[in-house]
Symmetry: C2
Subunit: 444 residues, 2 copies
């Protein structure tokens, strides 16, 4: 199906394309726009069935959206924006150049312009920036019959009709009624009799991560958003929350690998931007690593007198780094999922202490057997290396487990306490331990 | 509210608890069970309003569920399970001991027992293991009026009524009707006239990650599942997909930090299990790191004659590791989100080559200034160290970007090509480069 359309587009058989496309899902149609040149994008968009155009537009890449808006006349743009869901329109306006926003706003009604401006002011990543205004709102004295009639008339223009909101004359939220409840209730019942009053809601300025937590906890498909005066101003739907959840994970992955987080797709990001996101942490960590170098310089004479000691440095540093980042990853992820609280430091400490002793003993034991029996290194040196390895693992796991909790306490993002930083910290301390043991037990 | 109830439970004022609890959301009631002793768990569960009991049960921790099932009589268990959503029951049965499953199955009807057994057989993490059978099913010649009447009668017992499924007499899926469409259509219309026939579905044996991709792509709230003969056998709802998305990210975080993935909460996992998940990779990586040690041993004389070279080893190793894991993280995450395809190696290679040259030049430049001017290291040595640093960064970024794609080609999980493994590989190669440059340009 899809390939057939691409073929027809390729051959510029636009009439046949139009015929093929009309039964397709908007998401699939939007896919056919990929890799088209600007000219074909415009033609294909113009031949879309009117009622699908806005829906397809909202699924296009930002680039294709821009191509369309920039070459369409004001009237046409107005029509597309009219049909777009309010939150999709805000998303779009947030990312296009200012002069285009101005041009678009000029073509809307005064009332709508005000509303758009208000929405554009919500902080990025806040509940306000995620919400939409296309929800179903009732007063509580309405009957189920009247409510269903209302939905029958306006339902297709709402973001969702599956949860309806009950407000008082001051627009304060009094309850919610799922559509399921409406369609299973008797027609003469009033909304008040069937509405749920224990309403879970979020505030416009709540962070999107908190909003996602509420969705996950209660298994909702939509959530009302209220302003400072507790008036209902919008709703957030689950499809946008899925994007938030993915985005928050991606951000954590990036921060944990020592990068500035970015929402842009890798393949679509310029070399310069990618480099900019990476250089800061690389620089910080490179300079921090010189401390480790200083430690080595300080103990140069130890390494000179027992040359083989140098060859165990990579193994000690790597194992320490790996052991530490295992712990920090589990704790950072546990906090992101709300399973570990920043006050759990005793629990984390005790767990990591026990795990690290167990794991450290095994690693040190195997290491001892390997270097003493296979590599034929002297007993004392084998003991010093294995002892340093054991202490490194214990230290790394405790540092890795505790630092993310500490970061949270200091209102920093725990994700910065991941592999790169932990590795740098553990490197320096493991070498200190190594040289202290060496000087003490090898009589240097 | 919540604290008041906890206070009342603490004082064992059960009647007042019962009074307080009856307007609460099942999720919030389930929260009050946390940290209660087994005895109080049982009392609190017994005083729940009958219609809430099953819903609360499905939100309890596995431990509390076990406490309840083990001390309740067969009749009572039967009642709870009767009221549980089918997918929640399957989830529960999958995790309790076999003897308990037997006891529970004994108390159900033959028909239900067969169905349960069939569901328990679906592979873990397959669409089949996620789906539920409580969906709304119509024939296409039904009128909207009849359909709405049907929903009115049975709607409250379904997992969702917001998407209804149209099947033929052989149970093959012919279309879907969103409830929104039903309530906005005229009562005399037939289902056939309003149903969507371009139905996106998944198969029972599809992996849950693919299912999640379909949900994300189309913004669905439910998706039909068909068997090999294309018969409708269940549906998956979005709330379960959110859990899948979180779980898949968690798995990636764990694998990328060199651990065996596990779905268990950190604080609830035993020290022994945590250790077992961590030791394998630590061992593998520790032993691999000895190759790096061998390289150092091999060039011992170089280090002996220019002692200061040793002190730059940590900086080289760490910067290489960090540079490589930045690239591998972006590529692994990009693949997980479906933004990068395993055939994109030329694009990734060219991007990483350019980024690494840019970043490498900056790092090497700053490093040169620092060690030549501040640390007063000789010109030749400064050049060798900075040159090795530049080459290490280029090598690390290319290896980090390409190996995850290679892993995917070999049908391995790309996430294993993350920080720990990349670091080990880059360590060895960066030291090789370092020593080669040193022998060549320092005349050793």
């Amino acid at each position: 199906m899809q390939t057939k359309i691409l073929q027809l587009i390729h051959e510029k058989k636009w009439q046949e394309v139009q015929e093929e496309i009309k039964d397709l899902n908007a998401v699939n149609i939007a896919e056919s726009f990929e890799d088209l040149d600007n000219n074909d994008v415009l033609i294909l968009f113009r031949i879309l069935p009117k009622d699908l155009a806005a829906d397809v537009f909202s699924h296009l890449s930002r680039e294709d959206q821009m191509v369309i808006v920039q070459s369409f006349a004001n009237k046409e743009i107005e029509h597309i924006l009219e049909e777009l869901r309010f939150d999709d329109m805000i998303d779009f306006l947030e990312e296009v150049p200012a002069n285009l926003v101005k041009r678009i706003l000029k073509n809307t009604t005064e009332e709508k312009r005000e509303l758009i401006n208000q929405f554009l002011k919500y902080p990025e990543n806040s509940a306000g920036s995620l919400m939409t205004i296309e929800y179903v709102e009732f007063k509580k004295n309405l009957t189920v019959r009247a409510a269903l009639n209302n939905i029958k008339k306006t339902g297709m223009n709402k973001e969702t009709v599956y949860t309806c909101y009950v407000t008082n004359p001051k627009r304060k939220l009094e309850g919610i009624v799922p559509l399921r409840k409406l369609v299973t209730s008797e027609l003469d019942t009033t909304i008040e009799e069937i509405m749920y009053t224990d309403v879970i809601h979020v505030h416009t300025h709540d962070d999107q991560e908190e909003v996602a937590h509420v969705f996950k906890k209660y298994d909702f498909i939509a959530l009302p958003v209220v302003d400072k005066e507790n008036r209902l101003v919008g709703i957030i739907t689950i499809d946008d929350i899925i994007d938030v959840i993915e985005q928050e994970s991606t951000e954590d992955f990036q921060i944990m690998a020592g990068m500035q987080p970015s929402e842009d797709e890798y393949l679509k990001t310029s070399v310069f931007t990618l480099s900019r996101h990476r250089i800061t942490w690389l620089l910080i960590l490179m300079i921090s690593a010189t401390f480790t170098g200083r430690i080595i310089q300080h103990y140069e004479d130890v390494l000179q007198s027992v040359v083989i000691l140098t060859s165990f440095i990579p193994m000690l540093m790597d194992t320490g780094g790996n052991a530490g980042s295992q712990s920090s990853t589990l704790v950072i992820r546990g906090m992101a999922l709300g399973e570990i609280d920043s006050n759990d430091y005793w629990k984390v400490f005790s767990k990591e202490l026990q795990v690290s002793i167990l794991v450290g003993l095994m690693l040190a034991g195997i290491n001892f057997l390997r270097i003493f029996y296979l590599q034929k290194v002297g007993l004392n040196i084998s003991l010093v290396v294995s002892g340093a390895l054991f202490l490194t693992v214990v230290l790394a796991k405790i540092v890795g487990g505790i630092l993310p909790l500490g970061a949270k306490k200091l209102k920093l993002d725990p994700a910065i306490m991941a592999s790169p930083l932990i590795t740098t910290i553990v490197d320096a301390s493991s070498l200190m331990v190594y040289f202290l043991l060496a000087t003490k037990f090898l009589g240097i």
